[in-house]
Structures are given as C-alpha cells and as structure tokens.
Symmetry: D2
Subunit: 367 residues, 4 copies
C-alpha cells in the first residue's frame, strides 16, 4: 500500500469507531476570518405578500392555519437539514405571518425569544402575561422566553407581521422547550395597553419595576419610534447608520428582545452610508422608502416591504435613492455575540465598496 | 484608689495617647436598630421663600452672590461642626437657590453628584457638557460628578430651584474634589435641548449611546413626568407610595443622579398611605397639593413648596387631604445603601401610626 | 387537483423562492423538552490510544502532524456535514492529541476557547502569552480566545492530552477567526510557571491583577486539584456529584475556560449518585477508577482513560464500583447556557433510573 | 446698620430657623483636592501592648471585659464627638483586642463588616456561621455583615488581635443594626477548619459554592499568605507596593471583607518604594521587619507591631531599612470608594518626597 492508501484505510477504521483525524479536517472549518454559510439575499415584498395571502386560502385552521407563516430560507443555509430551511442568519429565524379576521392563535410559551414587527392591518391583539396588546403598522412587540402569548384578531382586514425568533440558535444548542397553555387563550388580567402607558416617557421608571425588570414594556408603538428618531435630528446622521435607535428594555437598557437585538434606522434622502462589518448578523425589513444596500460587494435594490439579510462579517452600506426619508427596521444577534465575548467590528476606510456580480465572502482557509 | 478611680486614671492615660477603651464606648454607638442623629423636620415655603428673596437684596455678586442658596439644616445634625449646618440627611445636602435676571454662575465641576428641581421662574439655563438646558417649573436636572456646569439667566423674573447634592457623604468620606473651569462659562457645543430630544421616548436608545451611557439625559421635563405618572392610572395606586416614578438614566436604568435617588409621587385625593420604613433617608418637596405626613409618629402638615425630611429607618406615611392630586418630589440615598449592601425595609402592619408629640426614634442601646 | 396536491404544488413554488411553510415544518423542531441530536456514547481508552499512537507513525509533520489529534464524533451528530464529524456535544469538540519527543506545534490564536487535560507523558510545554507551562499527567490548562499558544516537546516519551474547544459553537454561529503567529514559536517573556506560582493559594490575589483579570492562571496542577478535593472530605459527598471542584479564574470566580466549564469529581468507593439532568451538555474523561454511568437509561461501564458524553437534558447518574476513589474530569457548556439564560436543571426523584437497551431521549413533538 | 451688620442679623435669623447661607459656608468644605480631617499617625506596639495587657487586669467581665479592646483614635478625628474617639480613617475603626485564657465573648451579628488579624497567642477560636475557626499569629479572619460570630479561648496564654470594622462608615450613614444571639455561644454545626480545607487551592471552587458565594472562606492562614507572597518572587517587586496580595473572596474575586479591603505586602531588604496617593484611606500594621514610611512628607519609623494610618489622598512611600523582608498588613476603604465611583490615584513622579516636620495636607480652599 502507498502511504495515501494506508491513510485512507486508517481513516475508514477511524470513521467506523466514530473518530476522526483532525489534521485532515481542520482546513474545512478554520478560516482566517468568519466565512458563514449564510449569504446575503433579498426577497421582494410582492412575492412574499402573494405567497402569504395564498396560504390564507390554502391552509385551513385544521391544517395548522394558526401558524400561517411563510418563512425566509437563507439560500446558503437551506441545504442543511433540518434547519437550513428555516434560518435566515445562523441564529435567527424570520417569517411573515398572516392572521385572518376572526382567527385566534393558541397560547403557548417557549425558551426562544420572539419579536414581532407589524406590517399591515389593525384590530388584532397579542396577549402577553395577561396584557392585551393591540397591534398597528410599524409597532414592535416582544414575547420573551418563558412568557405565555397568544393572538386574537377582532378586525375585518388581514393582519400581516414579521416574526423573528432565535429558533436556530436554541435548536443548534439542542435545548428547545415548548409548552402549550392549559387554556386556548390565557386570561386577560391587566388593562389594555398597560405597559405602553406605564412606559410612555424616557427616564421615568415606575417604582414597582425596581424589582421587576424582566420585560416591562410589551410593545413599542410606531408613533413613538418615529418621535424618537425625529429627536435625533438635532445632530448629524451617523456616517454608517444614519439616524438609529435601538429597542431596549426601558428599565435596564438591555436589548428588549433579550438575545435578539433590534433597531430602526432613518436614512435621509441622498444618504450614502459608509460601509462597515461586524461579527453579528442582521435581518433588514424596509419600512418606508427606496434605495439599495451593498453587501459583500453585491448591490441589492430595495423598497417598502422587502426583506434582506446581512451575514456575519460581511461589509455593508446603505443608500437612500428616494426623495424622502427611508426607514429600515432590523434585527440582529449582537446580544448573543456580546454575551459570548465574540463581537468585533471594522470600518471600511477606502471609500465605497466596488460592486461585483456575486458574493464571495472569505475565500481562503489559513491552514 | 477604688477600681473606678483606677479606671478613670487609666482612661486618662489612654486618651493622652490617642487610644480609647471600647468596653466603655460601644454603648453610645451600637444600637439594635438605626438611630440616626437626623430627625424629621419640615420647613414652610413662605419662610424659605422670603429668606431666599431677602438674600437677593443683601448678597451682591462680590459677596458670593453667584451661590445665593439658603440651605436646610437638620436640627438633629446642625450641632455637629462643620457639616451639621448643611446636612439634611446623613448623606444629602439641599437648599433653595436664587438666580436673578441677568446673573451668571461660573462653570465648575466636582466629585459630588447634584440634582436640581425647578420651583419658580423661566428663562435661565444650565450648561452641562456643552448642552444648554433651559429650566422650567417642575423640571428635574442632573449635573453628575465630574461634568462641568454653569448657569445663565436670560429671563426677567427671579429663578428659584431646589439643589440637592451628596456633599455630606463625600465630605464625611474625606474625599472632596472641586475644580473651576478655566473660562467663566464653558462653551456651548451642542444644540439646545440636545439630550431631551434624543430621549423623548421610553425604550428607544440612540444607537451611539451603546458606548456612552454615563449621563445621556440632562433634564427630565415636568410635562413628561406628569405624562409618565398619568400612564400609571391604569393600575391601582401602590398602598404605600401611591403612583410613583423614579428618575433613571434611560440608557441603563440606573439612578439618574448616580448616588442620589429621586422620584415623583402622585397621591390621589383622599389617599392615605400605609406606613413603611427603610434604611435610606429621604428629602421631600411638595410640588402640588396639600396634606400631611406622619414620620416617626409626628404629624407634619404640608402644602406646595414645603420641604421635609424622613430620617433613616423612621416609619412614615403620606396623606392627601386636598381635593386634587398631590405631587411630592423626593430625593434619597437609596443608591448609596444599595451599593454598600446596607438597604432593608419593612411594612407597618398595624394600621396607621399613632400620633405623638415628639419624635423619639430608637431609644435603647442593646449593649 | 386535490387540496393535498395543491399544497404540494404550493410548497414547491415556495421552495424555489427560498421560502418555506411554517405550519408544515414546525413539528420537526419544536419539542416539549430538549431533544438534542447528540446521543450518549462512550469510547474505550484502549481503542483511542491505539489509534492515536498509530497516527504517530502514519502522519508526518508534512501531512499535518503538528495537529495529530484523533477526535470524537458523536454518532448522533456525525451525519450532519460539515461539523457532525467533529462535535461531541452541540457546542464542544474534543480529541486526543499526540506530541512526539522533539516535535513542535506552531504558535497561533483564535476566537475559540480551549482547555487541555494531560493524559500521559511529561517534558512538553505550552507557551501562553509568553509563559512556558510544563505539562504533567492530570494537569488542566487553558488557552483562552485571543491568546497566542504553541507547544514544544523536550521530553523523550510521547505526550498525550485531551483537547476541548468550543469550535462547534463558534462554527455554527458563523464567526470563526484564526491567526498564525508571525514566528513559528512566540518568544518566552516570563519565568517558567509564572502564573502557577502567583496563584498557589486560594483567596490571595496578586495586587497587579486587580486590573488584569482575563486569564491569570495558565495551568491548574493535578497535585493542587487533588488537594482541593481532599479538602472537601470534611463534608458529606453531594448526593449527585460526590466531591466536586470547578476550575475557575482565581481572580474573578468565572469559568477558567470562559465558555467552557470544567470540573473534577471524586466519587468514593461504592458511591451511587442520584440522577439529575440539566440543559447543558457534558463530556467526561475517566481520570482514575472504574464504575459506570447511567445516561438516559443506558448503562455505560467505564475505567481509566475512557471518554463519554452526556447530551443536553439527559438523566444521568454515576456509580463507583471499584475499591478506591474514582476521579472523573469533565467539561461542559454551562457558561454558554448561563450567558444566554437557557440553563435549567431537575433532580430525579424516583430512586435510580431503570436500565434499558437504548437511549430514547424525548420522543414526542408537542405540535 | 452697615451691610455687614445687616448680614449678621440675617444670618442669626436664618440660624434660628434651621437654615444657612451657602455663600458664607461653602469655603470651609469645598477643597480643590481632598483635605480629610484624618491625619497620618503612628502608634508604637510597646505602648499599645502594655495598655491592652493592663486592661486585662482592670476590666473584669462584669465591666465589659468581653470587649476588652483598646482602639486607635486618629488625632485629627477624635475631637469630633461621638465618633471622633473611635475612627482611624473616615470609614474605618481599628483596635487591639485581648482575650484571656478561659474567656468567652457572646455571639452577635451586625450590619458592619469586620476583619481580624491575629497578633499573638493561640488556642482561641471564633465561630462564624457554625464553623469553629482556630486563630494563629498572622491569620486573617472575616466576620462579614449579617453573620453570627463569637469567641472562645481554650488556650493558656493571652490572645491578642487587631480588629478592623467599618463602624464609622455605618455610623455616619446613620444605619447601625446590632443583634445579640439568643444563646451565649452559637451552636457549632460544621467541622473545624471547614472553610479553610475547602479553599486550600487557587482556582478550584467547590461545586456547591456556585450558588453560595457570600463568604465561603472564614480564615486566611499566615502560612498560606506567606506562600502566596513567595509565589510572586518570580517577578520584580512593584515599584510602589513591593510584593503584594489582596485578601479576596476565592469564589468571586471581590474583597474578602466586603467594604473593607485588605492586603499583605512584602518589602525586600533595602526596598525604597515610590510614592503615590489615592482617594481611599488605609491602616497599616507592621507584621515583621523594620523601616519607615513617609506620609504627606512626614517620616514615621516603624517596627513589628506598630500601627499607622494613611489618610485619603496623602502621598506615601514605604522603606525597608532592615536586613530581612518586611511584611506590612493593611486594610482600606477602597471597596467603598469603588462602589461609589469616587476612587482616583496618582503616582509621585519627582523622585522621593522631601521630609518635613509636620503634615500639612491640602491647604487652600478654591473658593
């Protein structure tokens, strides 16, 4: 036998004993810089919207209609069963949910964190820990790990919203918990808009929340978010992010979505952001306006309703080509990277990225 | 010599060597429960106001008029030189400051924390870290340790405000730092109301403040404070505190005044609070309304503008006897007690306190 | 078309647009309790040892011999490319490394954390941040994320050690960084055993390390570990864990391996532990003694040198069947679960587990 | 009336209403840099020892002999009743306690923190939370706030130790709690030396202490402390502090004495330290050796047993003039300054301090 033949025979014996040779395997995973399998991608709202509405006709409650969600599958991740199909970044799932007038979704809780961003409709509410939270376009809601939540639609038009959960993270860690509430809908024990009213103002915390800081504010209204962004107009826009506010727990300053970071950016007309990159990945949803983003050298044109994804460590910059302010909602896994001390970031210093045909990422292994 | 004589002779020799006998001394300071030297006391606004206005005539800028403050001296502490004269509680100083139209106060900084609550007037501003903050009745301002600050009055009526600093704490620790700015007034480098505009809304933090969380909000406007309290009306008042909000750093949830806690309470008409007590002490200023508080068994009647003090560990309860909501502003040293792990509290469980003629506090030593 | 046919056609169209139907997919991943893909498994030392020694002959330095590691492939994870082949738990990789007399491994650093537990041999050292750390049987070493490290073998017998890294975690997050040192071996800048000498004693921290608390102790010697365990003999063994000590950063009390928890347990002769389960997974290596562990109902007999794995949320109990103390070294991802607020645990209250033929885990989906 | 007369009349009226004029008072307390009332001072062991032994004859148990402590009175603080008599620094009390053979001290607890450093004798023990801790020369013990403790002397020679408590701090804050145990001595519920045995080794924490990190190690033995200092001999001495180790909670890295920092320094023969100053104050006790310290320009010669005090912000440097290593034990209020964000420090950069006749401190007010 040649040495190569002897090695192959040895590798075969190793494999049969559930062992492996590091020297032969390390190259495939050790990279100089992050080379996530997730790639940049953009979905047009028209497509997603039509698919979601079609599900309203095809999927009856008996067939799981209470979870009528069309979710995004990152093309770089979907080949990897079972969760490739559902991951947008390495840690985050996102999809567009449809709730039809008169429908209800049963109460449940889980150890994943969830956030929700309302796209269309009104008249539906979510109940979180006994509080009924009515949802309107542009609102941001949280249903943190461990809290019961369910939905009821009392309006007369379809409700559409964006869901984002850390399902891929919890699934990959192998530690999913999920529990159904003993009743279909949990009882309502608090006044409507309880938490919104209690947290209308910055810097003034209800005294009772000194010792109850888990998730005091269930919803962040669009009107408030817009107000917060307008409040930044007394300063220049950040060269990378424009005007941007993070959704945080008002009692602690931590990310409102716990493991899921979230923010809203306002890009003034003609804003052309500088590029940067960071370890965490992000999911963007265009709330208003039109423009494009260059991600890893590839240009993605966007308008209201489009969803796109920025993989870990990919250079990215945003451009508003429209006549008005553009608003970009986004979620990310920065809190995870910070909790594990993995976050880093870099500013792109050579002007703007050159546009290329396809995303390449980090090519070469260092080994 | 008798034994007592021998002991006295021994004590004399000890004293001359800067030594002391613990067995003879411990009783005077070791108590079963806190027996602060501070006592409950109340000052009527009419008195304080007149004294302050009189100082406007007597004290010219050459005689220190730039610090025209009449401060409160807790009768239980004033005998103790040099700081008895200025302490309201064991850690907190408070006084009423007058700034006349056209006057300026020079820029300085120190390692004490300061908060300011505006009582009368308008048209004056404080500059904190380059931001001009205009002050109106009911506003709460912070000038944290280490930040330059100075005042300018552009209006045409006297400005009056309540100052509260942790001067006694820092003085007793022996660690005062104070520094005058090289210029009389520091330069203005930010737009007016910069920080108020940036923090108008709960739960939405400017992205830049992820890494700059020291003191992002310089002023908490009365209109916002009132809004925050109104937002609690969807719940029952707390049996002890009524409706209450704390002034906190909106980026972190920590006390806005660092070592100085502060809150605003709204007591509905006919509210008669339950008594409780806590290790930290507190200073109250009546913002609106009329009523009384029972502190350590003594009744103190109050109305708008009055100032009263609640010593450490004294039972206290608040009663609104007027036809409208009463508003009580207060500061406290809870952050200090928490930082040193000294805080405790208790609820009074036997109805309301009996009213007595004088405050007794904790009588007996345990030794 | 039937409804099912229409749905299938719809699913096909979704798939082609990188979208998916949640109602059809959620069942496969949402479980009432964790159902990790990792399974319990045990490798016998004799096998692993022989394979490793064989690699010493087959794999020359030119073929990657500087990373002559045979790693463990959890049978439940290995089917999942590319990292199934290398994961022992969902977050942890482990393997047995061989360094032959006279060999060197080049200096590098990465954002994975690494720990090392020495199995056989002496005379080799690792250099971490300029400190040469000599390795002996039973020693525990750390090479935390971001620190340069390399190996040199000056002895005359083969060195064998267990490596454990959080490679699967960092890989799944998509954020790997790896960097080679400009020189083959980094310069030695500190005295030998610098950090061991500085941290010989509990509770006495070098004053300089007030502000340098990252990874002050590079190695935890076996003699010290044994001493620490003997120090617990004044108390009863814990009913679940026997006598157990965690490897922690002596300056902060945090896990010495950052994201990788590690401990050494001593089970007295005839100890039969109670079962418990927890969200985090663990890898065990038998340091001394003989016995068995029941994991998820399956019995695994072990003796010195064997390696076994406890998946997330699997019931497990340990039994010492030998005449002497048994020592079990283990690593885990508890720090990750705690950082992400995912940890939970439960005690098994019905005596001991019934022994079954095969591990079943959590069977049923809740959806 | 002249203006001055009118002012004096006004000041009199203010005073009668428990009010004061800030513009007339601020100068006395606002200093550019800390000007503590505490001054540097040194007590010779021979004096202190003789006084303490004399108390053994004069003070019978009926006269409080169970607290036979001669305490140090900082000459700069003693004029200030009631606590001037007992303070060594602004926050710390210290004294030398005598326990005669056969004596007992009753069990009690309080919200002050206490540490104890053993000077002479053996055969006595302290019981802390059910653990009997035998005391030997050079040992460092903690009795943290809230834990029951009492003493019993089973030996045949007098025991002498240094007590240090944060009594002045807690007293000045007005929040003292003190409680006697229902029994004279608390029951012993743990094996002797329980905590010492459990924490013999750095970096290995008993698994049970993951969730019990309050005060796991009751005593730090002299032999261990010496070992820890010897472990630093592989590095150069720090130019200011020589070789120094802090006493910390081995489970968390926090100060073992909570609000009371403590350390042991070893100064090699001929060591002449550089001067520095810091906001916190310190109390030194010479454990071994001879030399001098220059504090605020004044030279204090010391030898074994002497006690001296370094006020806040005073320049100080230590010199070993003896032929052997000198050991200096010290306590400080650094944890208090850090908790309140008041700490700062500076290195003296102009060689060594000039020696002067008397301590001056910070002379001038800035106002």
């Amino acid at each position: 036998m040649t040495t190569d033949e002897r090695l192959q025979e040895y590798y075969g014996r190793l494999q049969s004993r559930h062992l492996g040779p590091l020297w032969d395997s390390l190259q495939s995973i050790m990279t100089k810089e992050p080379k996530p399998r997730a790639i940049p991608y953009l979905w047009k709202w028209r497509d997603v919207h039509d698919f979601v509405m079609e599900s309203g006709q095809l999927v009856t409650p008996e067939r799981g209609g209470e979870r009528r969600v069309v979710f995004f599958r990152n093309p770089g991740l979907e080949a990897l069963e079972p969760w490739g199909w559902g991951s947008l970044t390495h840690t985050l799932y996102a999809g567009v949910q449809l709730l039809l007038p008169g429908e209800k979704a049963p109460s449940h809780r889980h150890n994943q964190n969830a956030i929700r961003f309302i796209l269309e409709g009104s008249g539906a509410y979510t109940v979180v820990e006994g509080e009924r939270v009515y949802m309107e376009e542009g609102d941001f809601l949280i249903t943190p790990a461990g809290l019961w939540h369910d939905h009821v639609h009392e309006g007369d038009q379809p409700m559409l919203w964006l869901d984002c959960l850390d399902i891929p993270l919890v699934y990959e860690l192998g530690v999913t918990f999920f529990e159904a509430h003993p009743e279909f809908n949990q009882p309502v024990t608090r006044p409507d808009n309880f938490s919104v009213d209690r947290y209308s103002v910055a810097g003034l915390r209800p005294l009772q929340d000194r010792e109850n800081r888990y998730a005091p504010q269930a919803v962040f209204k669009w009107s408030q978010t817009k107000l917060a962004l307008d409040g930044l107009s007394n300063q220049d826009p950040d060269p990378v992010d424009g005007y941007a506010v993070e959704y945080v727990n008002p009692a602690t300053g931590e990310a409102a979505g716990h493991t899921i970071g979230a923010m809203m950016q306002k890009l003034p007309s003609n804003f052309h952001g500088q590029a940067h990159r960071h370890v965490h990945g992000a999911i963007y949803h265009v709330t208003r306006g039109e423009g494009y983003s260059v991600i890893g050298g590839v240009r993605f044109d966007w308008q209201k309703g489009d969803t796109f994804v920025i993989p870990n460590w990919a250079w990215h910059e945003h451009v508003n080509t429209g006549p008005s302010d553009a608003y970009l909602f986004s979620t990310n896994d920065l809190p995870v990277m910070e909790a594990l001390h993995l976050e880093r970031s870099e500013r792109y210093t050579e002007g703007h990225q050159a546009i290329s045909e396809r995303f390449t990422g980090v090519e070469s292994s260092v080994l």
